[in-house]
Symmetry: C2
């Protein structure tokens, strides 16, 4: 099992504080001791930082906290390994692939037994670098999108979402598919068993969300209100109504709002 | 113009000290103020760390120095931007793409005017995320290798090297193509105007190479001799005979030795 966390915002936002506290779950508080990773949108690319070591006590994660990486999309994962090589960088989420000039990033929570022998998910163009069922599934999605879309349609949601939804449906048949996905424009989330979100407008420029397990401090570059959505394996604040994502449905966030 | 640096070794080696001193050229000593990047081989993947900010004074580079990233292949680049968006992460080298389950990483030095309108380099499967001629050229190589090789041949040097050499020849016709390339198994280097290397066996387990501008401290995990090759835009030590790479020829290093 793993913990997922994502942020979508309509402004460049420094949300690194969230990582620090979220990171504490990845060792001292939770059972997630086998690696963590964070992806920050940078143009059509993602800055990917990951480590095959517990988030708790990680010098690298502390360094990330100390930096002011401002982004509109952020996606994080803390992992308890379920495959043989527990300590490998290549098996650590998130995973990335470029498609038609847009970097795609994927993080997954759950086991999908049998996916490696399922003919619907055999790699044809994108091949895994590591040994996880998650990266295998992601490569299959990248293959399908390559076939379903023309290069200029890579961010055309009307064409793209049905292909992602169809893939997610088949994925869910192989096991548990809680996942986060982004193409540097949209943030996609899919719940099989457990994934929550909150979408709201922040009035203050430096609003923070806190609980005993996570603190998200938003520091947008500009003053004024901000639309932001947060997605997580567990609700992160107790004084607000986090919504469970409807199981089986790929939900899309854009500029801090849920749009599908 | 940019500075290139690469290391190939037959052992997992901590060579982060080299980055720190090499990094000093990227701001205070050299004219390279617009970004730096380092890739460390991790299995079939690369840990990629890059920043669209001067290497000199970089907290991120200092952090990298403080870590013990041990690898058999390391590839670094310090860049002076020659394209409009000087400060973008996506325009910062090295660039990476996965091909047939092996991450490929590429860093380039020189200008290649006209490559973006050259029909021999039009992207078909791999598309640039940024706006550099270098990433454009790299995508074209990835496309060609995809067509030239079957998936299981991705690390077959006999099949692969001719395709890389052919591409390098065409690339050199468009401008200056000093580059470093790796597929997580081999390290390839090509010189148009300026690239030097040294290949040797280190007797001591903690040997270091030093000059006024760079120090490479090798800390292999095991005791005993070590084969190592270093490649750089400028010779890094004055007491050893660095060899100029033959212009126009793709030279291959493997486990610290020059093999082609």
């Amino acid at each position: 099992m793993c913990e997922l966390f994502a942020l979508s915002s309509d402004r460049l936002t420094n949300a690194t504080f969230s990582l620090g506290v979220f990171g504490e779950r990845g060792g001292s508080l939770g059972p997630h001791k086998d690696g963590w990773g964070i992806a920050f949108k940078e143009g059509r690319d993602f800055r990917l930082i990951k480590e095959a070591a517990p988030a708790s006590g990680s010098a690298c994660l502390r360094f990330v906290e100390s930096q002011e990486f401002r982004s509109e999309i952020m996606l994080a994962h803390i992992r308890l390994a379920s495959v043989p090589r527990v300590d490998s960088y290549t098996n650590t989420h998130p995973f990335t692939r470029e498609l038609y000039g847009a970097c795609h990033v994927f993080a997954h929570n759950g086991d999908m037994p049998g996916i490696l022998s399922d003919s619907r998910f055999i790699p044809t163009w994108n091949f895994p670098l590591g040994a996880t069922d998650s990266e295998w599934a992601f490569c299959a999605l990248m293959d399908r999108l390559r076939h379903a879309l023309l290069p200029y349609e890579v961010l055309n949601l009307e064409k793209k979402l049905p292909a992602i939804q169809h893939w997610a449906n088949e994925l869910a048949q192989t096991g548990t598919a809680n996942f986060l996905l982004s193409d540097s424009e949209y943030l996609y989330a899919h719940c099989s068993t457990r994934l929550f979100y909150i979408a709201r407008q922040c009035a203050a420029p430096h609003e923070s969300f806190s609980s005993t397990t996570l603190r998200v401090a938003l520091h947008p570059q500009e003053e004024g209100g901000q639309h932001v959505s947060l997605i997580a394996t567990q609700p992160l604040t107790t004084n607000e109504a986090w919504l469970a994502l409807p199981p089986g449905e790929v939900v899309v966030f854009h500029h801090g709002r849920r749009i599908f």
